[in-house]
Structures are given as C-alpha cells and as structure tokens.
C-alpha cells in the first residue's frame, strides 16, 4: 500500500493493494488512520486498482473512515474498483456515502 498527500488539494490518496479481508483490514485501518489524523484532508481517495479481492470487511473499512471524515465535512472517493469490487460496493450501497469513479483522478470525471 502507498499513501500520498497533496497539501494544495488537501487530498489523501491511498493506493490499496492485494486482498482486503478481515485479516488485512486491521493493518490497513491503522495505516490509513495514522495518515488521516496526521493530515486531516478534505478528500480521502481510496484507489482499488490493485485490489484483487474484497469482502464486507472492506465495506467496514470504508464506513469507518467515513465516520471519521464526515463530521469534519470531508468526503471519500472510491476510485477504479474492478467489476467484482464494484459489485460488492453497490450491494453495500456505498454510492450513498462516497463517490465511485472509474477514472484515475476525480477531475477527469467532473470535467
């Protein structure tokens, strides 16, 4: 996993990798939250491009970060999920909490 922070945009980009399950989500949560509390970004982008598997533990991970950001007016973008991961995201109604986009950067979608 890689984490990049863009000060100008107040944007935290998290490049997730591999399989997101109950086992791996514990570690992911700790790493993401460390960066989240360090920067308190306006936007958290979770990139799923390199994610090969995700079950409802990943939904819990997204919902947990939403609960941190939402009271502060922050937003979450879920970027480039595979068709299988999109299926789980939609089933969980994640489009109500977050913007789901297939492009590399949210600007591309907005334009």
């Amino acid at each position: 996993m890689q984490i990049h922070y863009d000060t100008g945009k107040s944007q935290l980009l998290v490049l997730l990798e591999g399989e997101i399950d109950h086992h791996s989500s514990v570690m992911l949560r700790a790493e993401i939250d460390a960066a989240l509390y360090a920067h308190m970004p306006r936007t958290l982008i979770l990139d799923f491009h390199q994610v090969t598997f995700m079950d409802s533990s990943g939904i819990g991970l997204i919902m947990g970060r939403y609960k941190i950001l939402q009271p502060l007016g922050g937003e979450i973008i879920l970027q480039k999920p595979s068709p299988y991961i999109s299926r789980v995201l939609r089933l969980a109604g994640m489009e109500r909490l977050a913007q789901i986009t297939n492009s590399a950067s949210p600007e591309e979608v907005a334009s």
Binding site: D21, H23, M54, S56, S57, G60, R87, L91
Partner: protein, 149 residues
Amino acid sequence: MKITNEFKCTFPAVSTNESLARAALSAFLIPADPTAQELADLRTVISEAVTNAIVHGYRNCSGEVAICLRMLPDRILYIRVSDKGCGIPDIEQAMTPLYTTAPEEERAGLGFAIMQEFTDSLYVRSSAGNGTTLTMRRRLGQIHAEQED
C-alpha cells in the same frame, strides 16, 4: 444425492486462515471451469462465512472452523461452514442487513446479505453455546464452448 467430489477441511480460527479458505475454495472449483464472476462471488461467500466463525463464533479466541465443499450433479456447488462457538441467539435479527454485534471491530453487518446475494440458497442452523453451521448452494452456469489457447 450423488456427490461428484467432496473436500472437507478444518483449521484453527485465526484470521490468516481466511485466505487459506478462499484458496481451498478456488482449487476445488477450478476443475469445474467456473466463470471469473462465479469464482469471485464464491470466494467472497466463503470469506464471509469463515470470518464470521472467527470473529463472532469464537470472538477471536481459539477454536476450529470446518468447511465441507461438494460438487453435486447439475453443477451445484454445496458449501458448509461450521464452528463450535457461541452460536446465534436470534438468527432473523442476525441476518438483517447492517445488523452487527461487533461495530467496534468495524464489521459492516453485511456478511449475511452478501452470502445471500451470491448464493441460490442459504440455511443457518445455530443454537446458543453450540455453534453455527451455514449451508449454502450455488448452481454454476453451463460450460461455454471450449476455447483453444
């Protein structure tokens, strides 16, 4: 009912074995030539069931999870996942989407919803103190025309 193939396994209720369960499911399913979608769905299903046994059944304490996979006629995959953990006092409530007894662990309460969505049938047998057994079935699509590579 005639069983075409059957794979039974047990392993300790530790979170590293969630991926082991998925790998076993994949290896069992591959000879039946599932679609990528079927494989992804069923890997998710087994992952939810095994995670529930570990997180809720045994509450992250030690215990054993058992899986039985069967290929039945007409390409019906049978999945049984059981634990000897605490059991589910109210099954209907447990199956309600977003209901979870472990919010502090960031469980989303969607495990059962996903298992139901990705299988054709789901049957839960559980009694307080005696553990939980999930039985699921999913019929695989017909095999497509063979492709030479």
